[in-house]
Subunit: 308 residues, 2 copies
């Protein structure tokens, strides 16, 4: 495990941030999961099962789901998917979820977000059985994540991936000032709760925050989950800070294969000259989210089969 | 409703903070609750019921429970209490809670905290039926408080009281920098979540925070719930800040009637010269906690009787 030494007095221009390689770290995690799945299969003849529901044809959602399918199959997790058309009803989605809830071969269920506007996201997510909520978005899970002395059944994948990136890069979290940009239920909020669980001093920035640049510049650990391309400029970064860029914003790009490419919330070029370490987009948090999903699915199956 | 004008450039010595009178504000709230309870009694012949469990003989806990009894009776809420000896078992407490859960004349149940060390607080609290959890400490409630688009059944009393004090004093919360000192499950955490729900930019300080004084001094709204007498000195306060002092620390005082008196986390003398408004101890948050408990019990009874 490498230590990142942060020299707070170094001038901005002398710095070149270490790139935190999410792809490589995720690969290591996936390989450990694959071993565990084999061991499970050998010893009890069972494998974990993951079910995904996709609504509509958002190109980013399709990419994410494709990545999840491939990753699951690679580690030996059984993958089931149902695709609904954009104009499907809440009832159809809920019925599919109920069937997955009752299916003993399924240990993790997720609904790819965001959903079309006519569907009530909270209502649909609340149908997922707590024991199979591998995304960890159930309010009870979030409550247990927030409270001291409690343990959530699952830690939401992207936040868990962010912390794992920090830990595996040797970044100490305890006592550090952490700033999270964005307070969404699926990333910003649980990431802030998780950082606090690791004893960081956490500030959450959002649309109503005045002078976010100044507050961000005080962060030892800066997590951006705003979904705004290039929001975080060099001037937002404290020299030597560690940056986790959760933004995955598709922008038009005629040269790239699919006509678009993903960029982060952070202006990478500027930030690398000031930060001590940074996650790239793509290849940073993205692969970790998928790895953590597999991790949660394995955990769930282990609980279901009482397998240790 | 009076507006508090914060003149950030005023020098510290010229300032005298407005005292936020929690006793008076709580009185207004209790009087509205009393009217509602009478109306309920008149129209459907029912009143709300509150049950409290007290373990042991902590003098501060006894004071709190006595205040709750008196306040309930004054507004017409039926009050039931069970006192257990210090060395009671988890099982005895849980059995009593189950009986209250099933009692249709009871709409709010609370266990006076802290409990003796040999009792598992989380386990005991989890027995309280969600619909009667007027303290709002259930993880599902906390999760719903934390998440955007969700509504908790009950907002925990002390945090709700803090926000109510701010609102009724005309303090705008949206866009303000709020710092909460302490991250307990019962005050610090839910207060930070509630301030964020009101669109403040929130930072939570705790035992591992480095240089808390500096961070506190940036707060427009400073809430202290650390339980450390005189922790917050004048140098912790931004000129013109609004201070909510949740600390109620008993200190020996031979002159006072019971041999002790309560003081806050904030060095009141110093802070009043720098803040624009401050809650005193006693007479600030304390009376509000009790008023909010009555408020939650009334809400619960209204839900149970489908009374609007």
């Amino acid at each position: 495990m490498k230590q990142i030494h942060c020299d707070w007095f170094m001038t901005a221009n002398n710095w070149t941030a270490k790139i935190i390689d999410g792809k490589e770290i995720a690969e290591g995690i996936r390989s450990r999961i694959a071993s565990e799945v084999s061991r499970m299969k050998e010893l009890i003849g069972q494998v974990p099962g993951l079910a995904v529901i996709l609504v509509g044809q958002r190109r980013d959602s399709e990419t994410y789901v494709r990545n999840k399918t491939i990753a699951s199959e690679e580690v030996g997790i059984k993958f089931k998917m149902i695709v609904f058309p954009e104009n499907c009803t809440e009832c159809e989605v809920c019925n599919a979820l109920c069937r997955f809830n009752e299916d003993p071969s399924i240990h993790g269920i997720l609904v790819q977000l965001p959903l079309s506007e006519h569907l009530d996201e909270a209502k649909i997510l609340s149908v997922i059985s707590l024991e199979k909520d591998v995304d960890g978005f159930h309010p009870l899970n979030i409550g247990n994540l927030a409270m001291q002395g409690m343990e959530p059944l699952f830690v939401p994948c992207t936040p868990k991936g962010c912390i794992e990136l920090l830990l595996q890069s040797g970044v100490e979290i305890m006592g550090k000032k952490a700033v999270v940009i964005g307070r969404s239920n699926i990333v910003g909020l649980p990431t802030s709760l998780l950082l606090q669980r690791h004893h960081a001093t956490v500030t959450v920035l959002h649309a109503f925050t005045k002078n976010p640049e100044k507050i961000a510049r005080e962060a030892d650990i800066l997590v951006s989950a705003a979904g705004v391309p290039n929001l975080v400029r060099g001037s937002w970064v404290k020299p030597g800070a560690v940056i986790v860029d959760v933004g995955t914003n598709p922008i038009e790009d005629q040269i790239s294969e699919h006509g678009y490419r993903l960029i982060g919330d952070v202006c990478f070029k500027e930030a690398t000259r000031i930060a001590s370490a940074i996650t790239p987009v793509p290849g940073g948090v993205g692969p970790m989210t998928v790895a953590m999903l597999l991790c949660n699915t394995l955990e769930s199956a282990k609980r279901a089969f009482n397998f240790t």
